[in-house]
């Protein structure tokens, strides 16, 4: 039984539209907090001199840590899962994460990220029809080098 598509022309037009750039800071305390939460024991994430002895500029960012956007109480931050379009679905799940690393990211780096919706697809699963939204965020460092690409999958159903 074919279901009618919920992907409208308006939604399709959003695919590939780049967001305004966001500034993302990577600092030492944040690296340590993240590494500690994941249970790392490798001292490269905690001891700057040790990290330097292993060839890093400062504490490297552990896998999955792509810095923190600068928080400002006077600017509303829109959660990533809020889309600029409406869909008939009320519930949302985090479907997956895919991060590719191109260059080391270290404490002291200031990254610039831009995001876009890379893809919209539909699928029918045990919990009914669902919309699969693939978001892509690319990160550049202060030298203009692309350091990482983040792909996130959100499922609305």
């Amino acid at each position: 039984m074919a279901e009618a598509s919920v992907i409208t022309d308006e939604m399709r037009a959003v695919i590939g539209q780049e967001s305004e750039p966001t500034t993302v800071e990577v600092d030492k305390t944040a690296v340590r907090m993240f590494a500690r939460a994941v249970g790392y024991t490798d001292l490269i994430y905690y001891d700057e001199e040790y990290a330097k002895s292993k060839g890093y500029r400062s504490l490297p960012a552990p896998m999955g840590f792509l810095g923190h956007p600068i928080f400002r109480p006077d600017i509303a931050s829109r959660p990533m899962y809020v889309m600029s379009f409406k869909t008939p679905y009320k519930r949302v799940l985090n479907g997956g994460t895919d991060i590719e690393y191109y260059e080391p990211i270290c404490a002291g780096d200031v990254l610039t990220s831009t995001s876009k919706i890379a893809d919209l697809t539909e699928r029918s699963a045990s919990m009914g029809p669902m919309l699969i939204i693939t978001g892509e965020t690319n990160y550049k460092n202060q030298k203009g080098k692309v350091v990482a690409r983040f792909l996130g999958t959100l499922i609305q159903y």
Partner: protein, 144 residues
């Protein structure tokens, strides 16, 4: 850190050492602070149950980060983790162990790098794979 692993010493089909972490409520709070994800289903039991969940659940991104640590701890000082990807297929509950595994699927040399691809996954204490994925790392060569 464990001893350095070299490209020549690993083969397709081989499993890498597993990693187990218990998702205590304290770890989930530390993750919330470290990641900046303050959604209450991960640390507020009443809130989680009001959304229909049996209890607090582990953050998906924490499981992704644990799979990243699995690879980082394996590749050693001279290796590099190049890609970590996973899908969140099932929930992992607070106070339960998350067990991370990896198995080598492919070895290749690309652009002067020794590339190893792996199937990676996190499972719960019942052995259910809640978080399947793939990883790509580079390893040093004994000849270099």
């Amino acid at each position: 850190m464990s001893d350095q692993v070299y490209f020549e010493d690993v083969k397709e089909g081989q499993e890498i050492p597993s990693l187990t972490e218990k998702c205590t409520s304290q770890r989930l709070v530390m993750w919330a602070a470290g990641s900046g994800d303050f959604y209450q289903i991960h640390y507020d039991k009443d809130f989680a149950q009001n959304t229909g969940l049996p209890d607090r659940i582990a953050h998906g991104a924490l499981k992704h980060a644990l799979l990243g640590r699995l690879l980082h701890d394996w590749v050693g000082d001279q290796g590099r983790v190049k890609r970590v990807a996973c899908q969140y297929r099932g929930m992992d509950m607070v106070e339960e162990n998350i067990i991370c595994h990896g198995r080598i699927t492919k070895k290749s040399q690309q652009g002067g790098e020794n590339i190893v691809e792996l199937e990676i996954w996190a499972e719960n204490p019942k052995g259910q794979k809640t978080t399947p994925g793939t990883g790509v790392v580079s390893l040093p060569s004994r000849g270099q």
